[in-house]
Subunit: 254 residues, 2 copies
């Protein structure tokens, strides 16, 4: 068995977020699998095949890449951000567990990348400066009641909350419902950050308050960070404000 | 004002985790500030000064770097992992808010990096494959009661939990107390991952169950990931097991 599968995190999109390890894995692959727009960001290389698929086809993509690697090829699946954060790594593990015994013997490498919440946070200051959580708002794979329960738990205990997959064509109402739920726990002035396409030409980052947040446009590529009651906004002359969550939490917040 | 301050994430230590953006910022700096062992990982460059400090001196280090940048230099503060995750970015923001008005006018860039939980997760599979949180076990800057409340909230709502700063010479008992607390919410068989120094010669990654976890050695450089009741361990012939949390959560877990 000489095949190899790498699951490679591309970061938020700009080439400057790629790690050395990710660049090497992409350069050395016989075949690339991934969501079409992610593959389109990468330079074409002679002798390297490309297998684009839709963003709802993680399972089929993982299985196809595993089959290809089991045939002896060096295969890379590309993933936006970090493959382990709401991306391809778990889908690949699921297929390995359910698949033929030979897939367990494959040489498998997960290559971490800059996940969206780190890129958005860096762009605006340090909003994740204290304890935080990452929560997908997609109710495709879990019930909405569980999402609300997690929002309650996280906001009630004072975690900063990074919301992945806030909205899609098929899920238009979830984000507003989440903000309404968070208003039960957090003051109206709580800072909320919307960030998308960090490092790309269509980058957009904005800061609003929780009460104004539900009217702010978000799309599938947006990452939302909801602060805590301790999160601070620092005005700067001639520059966008800094938003950060202090390292110290003096008392139990409710 | 021509000064510039970059807060640069080095990732977990190995050069292959550096991003292109981080490399460029380090190469272009007049002065580097940071915890001594982090600076020691970087190549020396002619004309670039180094200012090492202890790992408990974030505040003084941030202020010194800001003063230096305000004098017109290109300054980089280095940070292990990602600067926005329990590292230097929040300390810098705190100093800017408290400091002279001129510091707010500085050109400031936060450069994200691979934070420890992403590196450890990638090494073992996809344990953060579903909703998760990151929690510092240090009670230097927050009361222990708040930490326990957050452990309860996170485990009770089914978040995977990444524990940063699990132990230090001055904080020997916190990790065992945290495991005991988590046992109230999670089955004894819940997978627990210990990872340290990913990509370095002294790398160590192990998987145990929650009941066996409190006897497993951890140190200041260790990152601990506690799974959920859904986290799976997949045995592999001749390879370490894969640990992952499935993307789907079928019902509200308690």
């Amino acid at each position: 068995m000489s095949g190899h599968l790498a699951v490679v995190g591309l970061g938020p999109g700009a080439a400057r977020f790629l790690t050395v390890e990710a660049e090497n894995a992409l350069a050395g692959a016989d075949a690339l699998y991934g969501y079409g727009p992610y593959l389109d960001r990468l330079p074409t290389r002679t002798g390297q095949s490309r297998h684009a698929s839709d963003n709802r086809e993680e399972k089929a993509r993982a299985a196809a890449a595993l089959r290809h690697a089991a045939d002896g090829a060096r295969v890379a699946i590309v993933s936006g951000g970090d493959p382990g954060v709401f991306a391809m790594a778990a889908a690949v593990c699921e297929e390995i567990e359910a698949g033929p015994e030979s897939w367990r013997a494959l040489d498998l490498t997960m290559i971490p990348g800059i996940t969206a919440m780190l890129a958005v946070a860096a762009r605006i200051g340090a909003p994740l400066g204290h304890d935080f959580c990452a929560l997908s708002l997609s109710d495709n794979l879990k019930p909405w009641a569980l999402i609300e329960r997690r929002l309650d738990a996280a906001a009630g205990a004072g975690f900063v909350i990074a919301l992945y997959n806030p909205v899609s064509r098929a899920r238009p109402w979830q984000l507003a419902r989440a903000f309404a739920r968070l208003c039960r726990h957090l003051p109206p002035s709580t800072p909320v950050i919307f960030g998308r396409a960090i490092g790309r030409p269509d980058e957009r980052v904005s800061v609003v308050t929780l009460t104004a947040a539900d009217t702010t446009p978000a799309d599938m590529a947006t990452l939302v960070i909801v602060g805590t009651r301790e999160t601070r906004i620092v005005a700067r002359p001639g520059r966008p404000p800094l938003v950060y969550t202090p390292r110290a939490a003096a008392e139990v917040s409710t």
